[in-house]
Symmetry: C2
Subunit: 405 residues, 2 copies
């Protein structure tokens, strides 16, 4: 190929890392590289729950793209992807169209509402910067309104978190720390505020080590979180939610419903005619889409099997970053007409934060950590990512160094 057009869609964990690696790996005259993203910033999805709870300002978790990529080597296009036309090797954006020779799709996830009645209208999500700061402002607003109204409206102080997976639990942890502060600021008796988690499974954090789950439940309950498990959200109304438990329906007054239970691959992928499996492209071992030799799919849009265990890779930042490394290598191999390598996921563990000062985690060789040690690990992982992304400068600017509390 003669200076091929490489187009990368999305500047999430997968896309931005692919871009940064290609920027180093390819010389200026070897390829034209274009990165397309809906925002002019990259953000750390794994920190969104902190912005939503109001414990970390959202400007601390986003990084201007111009600060981390070299604009002399990369064309940056600020636009929204409407569809991909792999037959024509084109990408349709909202205001223009791009042609590619090699495409990397890293369009991430979006909230899934599973058709639950009223969820889209009356619940909030934690799936991007806009929505995370809306959650924070929405909670503040209801706390402020509570004191404005003559009649006490308990629905303003009941906070319902839908889903006890990783995002739900991490958000609960931040919220449990933030609520006492908010009560001081807004002159509200903290005994009036309820934080309620609704989870359909018999326990939160399904799949996690039971001992650590027990620890997490204890840590959150001690800070006032209530768990309602085996409960399915049926409807979301302006002043309440309806859930079903043991075949019975219950109504819970709330004006603060945060839906953290559902995530699906960006619907652009499915709409563009790729063959999908629950919305994701089941990629080949070199991370290319089954029918297209010039399209890589990584991160939450890709269904990747672990060849040794046969398990599906979880939709995590860790996997997206690992896949980006392979995708970049393979893009370079295509440019140079070399053999492509296969992706092998390496599970370096999972940590669930329970607030700024508590966490649980499983690391290499099934080592369990909890409390400050797990928190420490979590922050080290975050800091390592920042270092890989933007070197010492970015680490110093956005890193988490309050590692002992």
């Amino acid at each position: 190929m003669n200076r091929p057009n490489i187009v990368i869609l999305g500047a999430g964990y997968g896309g931005i890392m692919t871009t940064i690696k290609l920027q180093k790996m390819l010389k200026l005259n070897e390829a034209n590289i274009t990165l397309v993203n809906i925002n002019d910033y990259h953000y750390q999805t794994t920190w969104l729950h902190e912005s939503a709870a109001g414990t970390l300002h959202h400007d601390q978790i986003r990084i201007p793209i111009r600060n981390i990529i070299n604009l002399d080597k990369i064309n940056f296009v600020l636009d929204k992807v409407v569809s991909i036309k792999p037959e024509e090797k084109k990408v349709k954006l909202e205001t223009s169209e791009l042609s590619y020779d090699i495409l990397v799709v890293g369009l991430g996830f979006e909230a899934a509402t599973y058709g639950i009645e009223g969820l889209e209208e009356h619940a909030l999500t934690i799936d991007n910067i806009n929505n995370a700061r809306l959650v924070r402002d929405h909670l503040n607003y209801n706390f402020a309104m509570y004191n404005k109204e003559n009649e006490s409206n308990q629905a303003r102080l009941n906070i319902v978190v839908g889903g006890g997976g990783l995002t739900g639990v991490e958000f609960l942890g931040e919220l449990a720390n933030r609520i006492p502060e908010m009560c001081e600021e807004y002159d509200i008796d903290k005994n009036l505020v309820r934080i309620i988690n609704i989870e359909a499974a018999p326990s939160i954090l399904p799949g996690f080590d039971p001992f650590l789950v027990e620890y997490a439940i204890n840590s959150l309950e001690a800070r006032g979180v209530e768990f309602i498990t085996r409960a399915k959200l049926k409807a979301c109304k302006p002043g309440c939610i309806v859930y079903e438990r043991d075949g019975e329906q219950f109504e819970l007054p709330t004006m603060n419903t945060i839906w953290a239970a559902g995530v699906r691959a960006n619907s652009v992928v499915e709409a563009s005619g790729f063959e999908t499996n629950s919305g994701k492209v089941e990629v080949r071992r070199d991370l290319r889409a089954p029918d297209y030799d010039d399209v890589f799919v990584i991160g939450d849009c890709a269904l990747v099997k672990n060849p040794s265990s046969g398990n599906t890779c979880p939709p995590t930042a860790q996997m997206a970053v690992q896949q980006a490394a392979t995708a970049a290598e393979n893009v370079k191999a295509l440019v140079h007409d070399k053999k492509l390598e296969e992706f092998t996921p390496k599970d370096s563990g999972t940590v669930a934060s329970l607030g700024n000062n508590d966490a649980i985690g499983i690391f290499l060789n099934n080592q369990k950590l909890l409390g400050w040690k797990a928190t420490f690990m979590k922050k080290m992982i975050d800091n390592r990512y920042l270092f890989k992304l933007g070197g010492v400068n970015l680490l110093m600017k956005n890193g988490k160094f309050n590692i002992f509390y």
Copy 2:
């Protein structure tokens, strides 16, 4: 009198200063002093516009009452005054009743809506801590929602301030500084945001020196504020306001209407059967109510004439603090059966802040100040008040020392 019961209603500028002075002037065995207030904190009404704009956190402008009064000498009752029964020498509170021998009424002001349609339901006010923080959170919420919605709703970004008096103008000044920051935080093009002032008079700041008013208009317009003068607010609806100008009616889309145009004395005073003049008690020269020798009325609930000019004292913090000094002296005189003194207002000037870094002011001998000099004076006045209230400690904690910017 044998250890008379002195009851002070309200811990605003007038009430708290009367309390602090009496605490120093009377010995423990000379009187029982009780302070009644609706909150457990005193706050600086003259700074509320900063909290409402989000430029100063509301916790910076309130001071716990226990930090500034000596609870060994003063009984503090946290309750709301329902009515005063001067014939029975009793005060009815929401949860109890108090008897007094000497009463000081310093119940301050409340927002007046003049029966404008929909104002109470759809406009916000800046008249206390609860409402000021609600204004801030309301603006944040609308900015966050703007990016959430698929269709741009300009009403979320139009901010209408009703009234171009001191509060309205000071709020506009803070807002004009805060909006560019908010636009950065919320990813909103700052050219989309409109800040519109609606004033019924031909100019803002009626009664102020015309040269300084010109300066203020220029300073605010340069930062994007629009003025619509000779315009009367007719109605406030969920998504717009209606105003009348030159006999014609106009509609302006907005979901942010802040009403800073109307203030009246606390309605408890009128409802308690005192003889009132536009809601205020026209006190005698010793600040006592006309018909009751044991009731003092000060601050915004009192109509005080300047004996030399015949003018009415303006409802300002400055006047309330001066009246508190006289009221405290006269309470002491009653206790000791001495002659009461007369109140003589001293006008030490007026400053209108135009944001953190700009202001206009008139000082002694009609000296006009503008820009940083006026800002400096304003902050010095604020700092002096804090010093009088809580000494060096409070000044160091809550004072404004960024006096050059």
